[in-house]
């Protein structure tokens, strides 16, 4: 059967961070990790195309998924495989969106990433199987992925036994044991030391590995970010007061402070009277410029980023974080201060 493999610019051998803005392309053969994957899939299945794309382009460009899907569909796959993306945020988001788009288009698809990858929730109804944390675990990750792929190509569904992670679609099935028996089984499992067994997995809040400290703030460009909903007074970008689905960026170059009357907070979760009376209470630009002038901060990024942190979904918040980190890194800034209301 025909398999199309999606990978990013790094695993395609095109380049690293410097090539992250490259648009999608397709090549009619297995590439990078796809070569080993092709061996593991065996002689009955063939990787007929590798579709790859720069991570920034894939997650940051409107219409990127349509372009990628068009390339995938051109190869007429029986199955679309994306990854493994390990814990790479943008790559994970891209893989999740690729399999979500492929599934929505009626294709069979599976992605592979670590359970902590922020992209996991974006796969929607498409199945995702677990990879290791970093590329060093490529071997076992490909074993899991190839096994899942073979199962899907047989027309079967993936379960946790195949390494499936993320939200499982709920279906009614008839179990041989009734609820009371299963509940007692779970209690016994817990008493025996199994703390993970459950029939109702709860959402997980992942741990973030702290970034390394900056050596010298006076040599570093700082980004300022806020979830306090602070926008130009007319709110030209239409930032939401709650359940934000987007973030915005506004220039602060050539400004020594946030002037009263020119900015306001649209946050719907607290009284914005104090913020509007002095917007530096949300974005401390006045003292940041002082510290920059004294040489204690190397420089300030030319724009600040803003969203509204009020009932914002974890999935959206994760996405904002990934996009901010990529944008800040690309700008050359190496530290960020986020004011949280």
């Amino acid at each position: 059967m025909r398999v199309v493999h999606y990978i990013n610019q790094f695993f395609a051998g095109v380049g690293g961070e410097d090539s992250a803005a490259t648009g999608p392309a397709s090549t009619p053969e297995a590439k990078g990790p796809g070569r080993k994957l092709a061996n593991l899939l065996g002689p009955d299945h063939q990787i007929v195309a590798t579709v790859w794309c720069g991570d920034d382009y894939a997650v940051g460009t409107a219409g990127a998924m349509d372009e990628i899907l068009t390339l995938i569909q051109a190869a007429e796959p029986d199955l679309v495989i994306a990854g493994p993306a390990f814990t790479s945020g943008r790559y994970g988001l891209a893989c999740a969106r690729v399999v979500a788009a492929a599934t929505a288009a009626g294709l069979n698809a599976v992605a592979c990433m670590h359970p902590d990858n922020p992209g996991l929730d974006e796969a929607g109804a498409a199945p995702v199987v677990a990879s290791g944390e970093v590329a060093r675990s490529m071997g076992p990750s490909l074993d899991t992925l190839a096994g899942a792929a073979r199962t899907l190509l047989l027309g079967a569904e993936l379960t946790v036994d195949d390494g499936r992670i993320g939200r499982l679609p709920r279906r009614s099935v008839l179990d041989e044991a009734n609820a009371a028996t299963r509940a007692v089984d779970l209690v016994l499992a817990r008493l025996a030391g199994d703390r993970d067994a459950t029939e109702v997995p709860l959402p997980r809040f992942d741990q973030v590995t702290p970034a390394a400290p900056v050596d010298d703030p006076s040599a570093v460009t700082f980004a300022f970010v806020t979830e306090g909903g602070l926008v130009p007074d007319a709110n030209p970008g239409g930032l939401e007061s709650a359940r934000a689905t987007r973030w915005l960026r506004y220039p602060i170059e050539d400004m020594s402070r946030m002037e009263t009357g020119e900015w306001r907070s649209v946050h719907g979760g607290f009284s914005t009277v104090f913020a509007n009376a002095d917007p530096n209470r949300i974005l401390p630009l006045d003292v940041a410029r002082e510290l920059e002038g004294e040489g204690r901060i190397g420089a300030l990024m030319a724009e600040y980023f803003v969203t509204t942190g009020n009932g914002t979904s974890v999935a959206n918040a994760r996405r904002f974080g990934v996009e901010w980190a990529a944008d800040i890194r690309r700008s050359g800034a190496r530290a960020a201060i986020l004011t949280a209301t």
Partner: protein
Amino acid sequence: MGAPRIVRTRGIPYPAGDPSLSPEDEHAWRRRLVEQGLAAVSTHVSQPTVFEVSAE
């Protein structure tokens, strides 16, 4: 909530201020907050860590 480095402030509606202070004192407080932020990003942490700013 998983943020690795946290500088504790005085109230949700004014993370970088304190309206109970005079304008001069509030400015000084905001400056100490950002200075503590610079110290925080320059400090190695292995888990979410709260950095306190002294009142004076």
